[in-house]
């Protein structure tokens, strides 16, 4: 177990360095630097700014300097567009993204798993058909259609919620639903196919032959194996919910991390962009590891020390 975790953490570090390298050179390949576009600033000032941010050094020097700062000080640099510490900016917005992501994920699991299980147990019934049709709609209707529609229906027509903003706890609901809809759909489909696979196994027949009632056969014998595909999906899905929430953040004006990413891309802000990407990467590495460990607990055949 310990061996497995060390292995995966080492692998995670390699992943992050690879990610850093890719994004670093991509950002360098972007035309111009953060200050070329600013017309109101004198060329000398620009030069001073470049020196201040270390952008006048050689590319390789910059590459290793940033890496060094990350490892020795844990510092992700200073945003050129906002003149703020990237760590602080992430520190302020991450809790927002995290609450939004967690709510969306809870919504997705709470709705997706029951739909998936019910569809599998009552295969080819109206429950199955309507559940899967719903899931398909969830996959095919984009967040930027659902979001505005929810705004119209639930905040303008019936004033249940605020149209946008992030003040009261109630403000989390509409963005979370919009964000979690696709995840719900995937979880429902994965749960259904996982459960169908397990329900066709021989040992389910054994359980019936023991005289167990159907509910017990499903809960005790089928659920654990049937949920494995969905569990494996939940880790990466959570990371995706946090890193991919910029559309929802834009629609509902939520001060999460996505806005930083989009703004940094548009403003060619190298350190903010780099910092946010690395932070997303770290999140994915941790979530994948968590999903693997959870799978190991659910499935006795998976021995985590054998990689």
């Amino acid at each position: 177990m310990l061996r497995f975790i060390t292995y995966r953490l080492l692998q995670g570090i390699i992943v992050l360095i690879a990610l850093y390298t890719i994004t670093f050179f991509l950002i360098k390949a972007m035309p111009g630097d953060p200050f070329t576009g600013e017309k109101n600033i004198a060329e000398e000032t620009k030069q001073l700014m470049r020196e201040k941010y270390g952008l006048n050094e050689s590319v390789f020097h910059q590459y290793f300097l940033y890496l060094k700062n990350v490892f020795t000080e844990g510092s992700l640099g200073i945003s050129t567009s906002k003149a703020h510490s990237v760590n602080e900016m992430i520190g302020q917005s991450f809790p927002v993204s995290c609450i939004l992501g967690l709510t969306a994920l809870s919504f997705a699991i709470g709705l997706g798993v029951p739909i998936g299980v019910a569809s599998a147990v009552r295969k080819n019934s109206w429950i199955d058909y309507s559940g899967m049709a719903l899931a398909m709609v969830g996959i095919c209707v984009p967040a930027f259609t659902v979001g505005p529609l929810l705004q119209i229906m639930l905040s303008m027509k019936i004033p249940l919620f605020n149209v946008a903003g992030w003040e009261t706890p109630r403000d989390v609901i509409l963005p979370a639903i919009t964000l979690g809809l696709v995840t719900t759909a995937y979880i429902a489909r994965l749960t259904r196919s996982g459960m169908l696979e397990i329900l066709s196994q021989d040992y389910i027949r054994t359980a019936h032959a023991k005289g167990l009632p159907v509910s017990r056969v499903v809960c005790k014998h089928a659920l654990r194996g049937g949920l494995l595909p969905a569990v494996a999906y939940i880790g990466p899905a959570f990371a995706a919910l946090i890193s991919g929430s910029f559309i929802v953040e834009t629609i509902f004006q939520v001060p999460g991390m996505g806005q930083h990413f989009v703004n940094a891309t548009k403003a060619r802000d190298p350190f903010l962009l780099q910092g946010v990407v690395l932070f997303f990467g770290l999140l994915i590495v941790i979530m994948n590891l968590a999903a693997d460990i959870l799978t190991g607990f659910l499935n006795p055949r998976v021995r985590l020390d054998q990689e």
């Binding site: 292995y7 040992y203 027949r205 054994t206 023991k210 005289g211 167990l212």
Partner: protein
Amino acid sequence: MSLLDIKNLKTYFHTRAGTTRAVDDVSFSIDKGEIVGVVGESGSGKSVTCHTLLGLLPQPPAKVEGGSVTFDGNDLLDLPSPLLRAIRGKRISMIFQDPMSCLNPYLTILDQVAEPILTHEDVTKDQAEGRAIEMMKKVGIRDAEKRARSYPHEFSGGMRQRAMIAMALVTNPDLILADEPTTALDVTVQARILRVLRDLRDDLGVGVIFVSHDLGVIAEVADRVVVMYKGKVVEQGSVESIFENPSHPYVKGLLACRPTFETKFRILPTVDDFLQTEEAPDGSLGLYERPDAEARLAELKRQIDTGGNPKESGQNESFLKVKDLRVHFTSGGGLLSKPHETVKAVDGVDLSISKGQTLGLVGESGCGKTTIGRAILRLVKLTAGSVVYDETNLADLPPSELLPYRKRMQIIFQDPYASLNPRLTIEQALIEPMKVHGLEPNRSARRDKVVELLEEVGLSVDHLLRYPHEFSGGQRQRLCVARSLAVEPEFLVCDECVSAMDVSVQAQVLNLLRELQEKRNLTYLFISHDLSVVKFMSDEIAVMRQGRIEEFGTATDIYENPQSDYTRELLDAVPRADF
């Protein structure tokens, strides 16, 4: 009154393709303390009968169309599901074929063995687990207290099947339905399991319905026998009467086509030598005895004498010699994982085969017999040793120089469903080897050759443009043989090539191999776990155990005068019909 009484049971499967009468008017009964063997080939309806009794078939497509199953004054088929559930696992329990797939991999053995008690009786968890461990000891699981909390994948096949039996017995049922309970096991393990079942009958007086395709097992374990064919019971009676004096032509054929240690036939009789089937206009099947059955059997018997044994005359120079062959597999060894583990699949084996002869290689699962076959053909990497074929050491040849030997040596595998590329027609599959080896001058010559080959293995030209999935298992194995023969080999490795087949089909394929050997003077390495089949096919036999040759000798010597304890144990474990 009998324990369970099945009357006119009919179970049909309704699918888009039509209706299959899986169980068609079946009646038999079972008493307390009796083992009834239900025997039949695949598709005979024996398992479906078993599953119908407890309502375990998925409905649809299955549907019980009629009949009754009386147990303790109730008709199980009419019982409302809560009442049926109260019987299932409490008074009637089941043992299934594959103990790996039939035990839940996510739960501990103890959890699963104790579950029937907790479901049906009002006891505490501790009491239930105590009884479960008790029962596990009784069926021969050693250290049951310690091992009970293991998961199924941590048990061996035999132990898993014992756990399954303990699970079935733990509620002291009156009746056990055992569906092919020993089919997935080695003979020695099978012998022990059969003993457990017989003891249960004697000690506790349980009734057992024992479903199997294996006539030997049925003869060994059953008191009475029910023979099924295509959904119908063709004959039933005491085990002696069925085996000593069968009256139905199908049963006669089934018994005759099965090679035993005593078989003297050169060519085995087949079911078709006895049975004639005629389809009536309403779709029902009429089964009749062939009028010329006696004559056919007499002809086969005559061949025993006149056929002689041409192999013993001369030709004794061995043309395949295996010396100190070793094949080791290593696992693990990745970054940060555990150190390499080496499995010595073949660990120092010497063999030699003379031209035109058959060497039988026999052993239990995991003994390395299959690896030897593949190593000789260089399909796996050799760790050490030599394979001298016609004075060339194949072990030293670079891959580029193997090609001429690939033409001379061929292999036939166990699973005919996996041995043919599903995307090639039969014609493409058979022409390809000739193309690769540059045989036959042109396309039309090759096509003529394909037709010739198909006829040689008993298939018709109509099959040329078909795809493999349109054939039955026996036909596919014939196609594999034809594909091998396309390169005109002189040496064939038959790797468990009849193990997946029903006995009646097995007899046909064995006969085909024998006829081809005589016609083409082929040399065989015949690998099998089935001692009777190996005896029938081989001139010389090597018994393998844990990667080494345990004993080597002529077929008669090995079977009549075994030298090693292991060989003796193996031979004793083979179930036989001797009364």
